[in-house]
Structure formats: C-alpha cells, structure tokens
Symmetry: C2
Subunit: 434 residues, 2 copies
Amino acid sequence: MQRTHYSRDITPAMNGSTVTVNGWVHEIRDFGGLAFLILRDREGLVQVTMPKKKVSKEIVDTVKGLSRESVVSVTGDVKAMEKAPNGYELIPTALEVLSRADAPLPLDPTGKVPAELDTRLDSRFMDLRSPEVTAVFYVRANMIKAIRDYLSSQGCLEIASPKIVATATEGGTELFPISYFEREAFLNQSPQLYKQMMMAGGMDRVYEIGPIFRAEEHATRKHLNEATSIDVELSFATDEDAMRLLENTIAYAYAYVKEHCQAQLKVLNVDLQVPKTPFRRLCYRDAIEIAKKDPECADIEYGDDLSTQAEHAVGQAIGEHYFIVNWPTNIRAFYTQPCENDPSICKAFDLMHPRMELSSGAQREYRYAELVKKMEEKGLSPESFKFYLDSFRYGMPPHAGWGLGAERLLQTMLNLNNIREAVLFPRDRVRLTP
Amino acid sequence: MQRTHYSRDITPAMNGSTVTVNGWVHEIRDFGGLAFLILRDREGLVQVTMPKKKVSKEIVDTVKGLSRESVVSVTGDVKAMEKAPNGYELIPTALEVLSRADAPLPLDPTGKVPAELDTRLDSRFMDLRSPEVTAVFYVRANMIKAIRDYLSSQGCLEIASPKIVATATEGGTELFPISYFEREAFLNQSPQLYKQMMMAGGMDRVYEIGPIFRAEEHATRKHLNEATSIDVELSFATDEDAMRLLENTIAYAYAYVKEHCQAQLKVLNVDLQVPKTPFRRLCYRDAIEIAKKDPECADIEYGDDLSTQAEHAVGQAIGEHYFIVNWPTNIRAFYTQPCENDPSICKAFDLMHPRMELSSGAQREYRYAELVKKMEEKGLSPESFKFYLDSFRYGMPPHAGWGLGAERLLQTMLNLNNIREAVLFPRDRVRLTP
C-alpha cells in the first residue's frame, strides 16, 4: 500500500480523513476488547487503536500474531485523541504485513534494555531504530546540509579531491597503505595539499566534505580511523578571514539544527544554544598558563602541544567555543605561514569546544622558496612533493583555510559521550564490520 | 588589498565607483601611450586600462615588469566601456603584486597552445586556469548542489558509509586491498550494502555522494578507478518509484545548471537541453534487437550484457535519455528482486544516455531466504555477508534504489570527450599523481 504520510505529518486537524502509514511494530498492547499497535517510522510514532467492535477480526488477529519489529503498512481513519502521541490515533481499515521479524531481536530498539556501545554497533541496523539514534543521524544530515548551504552562500565551490594518493600530506606517519595495481599508494589523510592546489588553479574559494583516513594506533573517545572532514580553502584570505568564516559556519549550523530538528533535539533531551560570534581568541601562551594551573598539567611548557587533559583544563576555564591563536611556528605543519614581525609565532589557529578541538586552520605559506625551506626543516623531501610545490611557482595567491571534524562537531553539539555514536559504521583499531 | 568584487559582479552601471579585484595576469598589451592588463579571476576577465597620462608611472612600470600568470590585486575606478569584456574597464589607482610567476609556464592557460590531456593533468593547477576547465568544475559543483537540493527536498537524508570494508559488495573482483593494521581490508566499490542496511535501520530514504573505488584493469574514456557515486535508497518503494526519482533528479540538475551556469555553458559552447520526463522505458529484449541491427553487434544474444558498441547502437537509435528495463535475472546482481510473474526477468533498470550508461538500479530482494539463495547461486558465501544478511531478518521493508556516476553525468551533460575531464585529479591504471 502506498504511504500517504509520515507519522509526524498527520495532525489532529485531519480528523476523519484516511491515511496510510508504513513502519515497524514498536509495541503491541492487548486489553481484550481493545488492542493497540504502536507503529514507528523515521519521524516518530503512530498509535493504531483497535476497538474490537469497530475493527475487522482479520486485522486484530493479524496484529496479535505479529512479532515486534515486523514491518507493516496500515491504512486507517485519523481520529483526534488528546492522549495519543501527536494528538491522534488511527482506526485501521486495512493492514498488510511486509516483513516478519525473527525473535529474539539482537538488540532492544526501544532502549528499555540498555546495551553496550560495541553491542549496539555490531547490530547497527537495529540500533538505528531507537528514536535517539535515529535522531542523531537526522541531526547529522541536517548539520551537514546547513554547512553546505552556508559555505555555498559564501561563494565556496564544492570539490572532490582524490582519496588514493602517492604521498602523505605531512610525511610518512599514520598512513594506510593500498596495493594500487603494481604500486604502493596510500589513503589520503587530508585534502590539504589538493585544496591548496585548487587555489593555484584559481578556484578561489572551495570546500569539500569527505572521508579522511588516519592509521592512528590508539583508540580514544574522540578519534576515528575513518572520519568525515569538512575542508575549506580561501584565496586572498588571512587567518582572520578563515576564522570568521569558520565561526559563522558553526553558528549557522547550530541555528539551522535548532530550527529544523526540534523533534529530534527533544528526543535527545538537548537544549541547543547557538554559540555567539565572534568566538574568543585566546593566545596559545595564555592557554598554556591556564593549563598549568591544573595539577595534572603542571609540567606543560610553552612549545608543547596541548594534551587531552590540557585541552580539558582550558575548556573548563573558557566554557564556550574559542580559538587558540599565536601558536609557536615549530609545532605546526610546514605549510603554515609565520608572522612577519615574529617568525617564531605563526598564523595558525585551532577552534576549540570546551570538550575538545574541533578544527585546525591557518593562513598558509604561499611563497615557494619559503615553503621549500620549511619542508626541509621538517625533514620532508621536496622531491616527493614536487606535484604540490610546482603549484606555488606560477602565481599562487595568498590563502588560508581550515579542516573541521564533522563527527566532533556533532559529538559536541549533541553532547555524545563517544565519537563512535556520531558515525553510522565506525572504523577503529579493532572494528572493521559491519 | 581586500577584494570588493569578482569580475562578473562589476557592471557598467557602477561607472565612477572604486573597486578592488584580485586575480591572475591573463595578458598584457602595451601600445606605447596606452597599456592593457587583462586580469582573470574565477568568474571571468577584467580589462585594466592604463592611459599613461592618467595612471601613475609606478603602476605602469610594475605592470610592464609582470610575468604572465602572476597574481595581482588591482584597485581602480570603473569606467563604462562598450568594447571591453562585460562592458567596463578599470583605471587603476593602486596595484599590488602578490605572487610572481616563473617562466616558461608548464602549460598555456589561455588554451591558445593546445596540450594533450595527459600533459594538462600533469599540471592540473595550471590547466584549471583555462576558462573552459574552470567552467567544467563550476558546473560540476552546481550539478552536485542541484542533486543534493533535489534529493533533500524529496525527503532523502544524507548518509556517510564507510570506505574501508572487510568484504566486497559483489564478491572478490576489482578490489583495492588495504593494510588495515594487522588485517587485510578493501576500499569499498559501492555503498550498496550499507545503504540497504539503512533501510533496515528505518532511515527510510537516504542518499550519499561519495568516492567509490574499482580496480578496473583496462583504461577507457568512460572508466575511472576512483569515481564519485550518487547513491539513493528508498524504503517502501518499487523499481518504478526509484526510476521516477532518478529521471526527475536528472531533469532537475540539467534545469538548475542551465539557469545558474549560463556564463560557463557559454564558455563551453554547450546549448543545454533539459531532458523531458518521463524517460522512455525500453525492454532489454528490444534493446538487444536494436543492437543486433548494428553489423558490429550482429552476434549479440538475449542474456548478454550490452557491450560499449551495443550501448552505442541502441543510444543512436533512441537519441535521448532512456531506461532499459526487464533485464534477465541471471545477469544482474544477487540483490535484485525477480518479477513475481516471471522470475527469469528482474526489477532492475539501467539509465542510459545515448553515449553511455549513467546509472544502475533495481527494486531489491528484501526477503531473507530468497536473498541467501540468490547469493549462493552467484557463488558468494552467505557467511562472509552475515553483517549484511542479518539486517534482513528482523523487519526489512521493501526497498529500491540506484547508483549514478557523477562524472558520467557531467561528461554527457557537457559533452566532454574523456571522463578524466570531469575529475579534478583522476586516478587510473597509470595515473596516481598529482
């Protein structure tokens, strides 16, 4: 039977009209003369009410014989009913069983029987049926849509860079090797070099939202071996231009989700606050000072990367989104541009949520000779980066950009405990299926 | 200097106002008392006119010393001028050289000196500067945006499925192996199994636009080893529902590009015709009969796949987009549903452009027992697909979907000779850089 409505699209005002809904058997309650079938679709729940005097025996018997999580199509009359979910119930006139579910179920999709994340991920198809998990991926799709819409409105063209590459973005670590016919190749860790080449190509402002791959050995709650990166690169732009676009992108995504995912945020019990822009700019030097006050970070020094604990300490102190700026040049990537007045400091920035880093970016070194020098200082061979370096020799505009982790953005937006909850089918040190 | 306008955004009506444009030195012409600098940005060309009496000697001297393809920022006064590109010229009041180009250039970006595709791809950053190539990727970004917008308007949620997988979608051929820590894994050939699992997960209607990888040995003008696939899967849908969404998606993308990329289509000399829907449905059997009439395909028989030559013969006969339907079951993938009244025929379809196949799709086999049987008949081991098959056991809705090659769509839309022209950085049997 052809669906006419999602559960959410039926309203009490449609009292008396006939609709068809399709979905899963969420629950069956039988009180003798009255039975209920709670049907679930992507958008919510429908209460199908069966007073035995009004509904055909055939339908009632079929429902009684249904296993939980079977798939059915129900046609019925809408009846306004204050106590029912969404204020209406459905009195069925036809019911078709499309797929019967085996028992027992590998997971309880109502969430009444809690399961470990690993068990949930093993049966992700079933886990996705819980309204909370559906809500996470509904928000994810809307968050990504908001970001695309915003970047597109800001003149950024979407690109697709290769995932199979011959050279690592930042040297030889954390790479997954591929057998590419008779050669060795690698999975790309970042579109960095390619989006910079697009600047040399005159594409001016570009973005890409796609997979990146890191052979990170240790498993944490905020790392994935395959993640989605939101990458932006802007010609004729400074670090400050890039930061402004980034904070506005974040604020836009929050506002869009708040407006378009109200039902999902309610299911997740998230009271989303749109962060105020501009975000605070905190000097790296000051971040180190704040971190030092945490007894667990007492030995952190200027020139160190921020550990997870240090990020946490600073995040607690700031309490909202912020940028860390004025980084020491020698702990940032070779393609970062040093400051003119003090080359020991560079034009890099990290965007931080109080819980963790979300994004890294910088104004880039666009002068060929300087870039080659920086590369050599980092122990990288300019020879193996010739395809990239050449693009700086024939007219390269100044440019800046950033990479933003989609899963971390979603994790912090929805306050998810583990980053794996923000990915449909996570890949980590031990997990390769489903 | 901060850019105020792209070349395209300046109009003769702005006569007298001051603007700043950034871009590349496309051409310099010096006629003694009068010199011209043609500056190029992503959107087009600007004529910077320097009557020596009106422009400072410093600016004129700087321009004369510029190499082609250097990057400059020019501030000047707009002067309406019918004969100039876009009907205006710029009289410069300030000029800053941002990056000087080495000479000779690896390619001529004006296209006056034609180069082989391989040479162009070797210096893609330079090739991208030719207005024709810029136009191709401008259209690509808009085509993809149109498709996302349309699918989203049709209730499809965007998903991201893993690219690193343990099992091949359709068995063991044409796979790129990866070293995944201590295990062997593969690059995914298609999101097929994952988008079907999303149907079991209740996500109802999903789409993904992302990379797919095929270790295809032979190089042709329509194959890539890394391509972008536009994948859709729809619950409670038939093959006909999926075909309708597909033809409407194509028509929407054409119409959007026609409206939003007029300047680019003009540069490419493409007179885009929006295909009329519904597309013709041609029976596989009739396609074979048409192909047989071509002397080169005289020995094609019912049950054969359509060769490139056969596709071409049928495409010539039809002359517009069309579907091939009613395929023999045994030459389609195991997850295709056979027709109820004649199981030797199945609910698969291919969407064809007269030049080539663009998309493959089907109503899927959603009954667990039937699916296992089909898998065994194809010589695949149900054991290694357990993660996928399990999702059919606990309530799987009927569903249908398709995968559409983004590069082929662009190639046929813009009448590009080689599919490599539709990808920024193509990957093929021999090409792994840039």
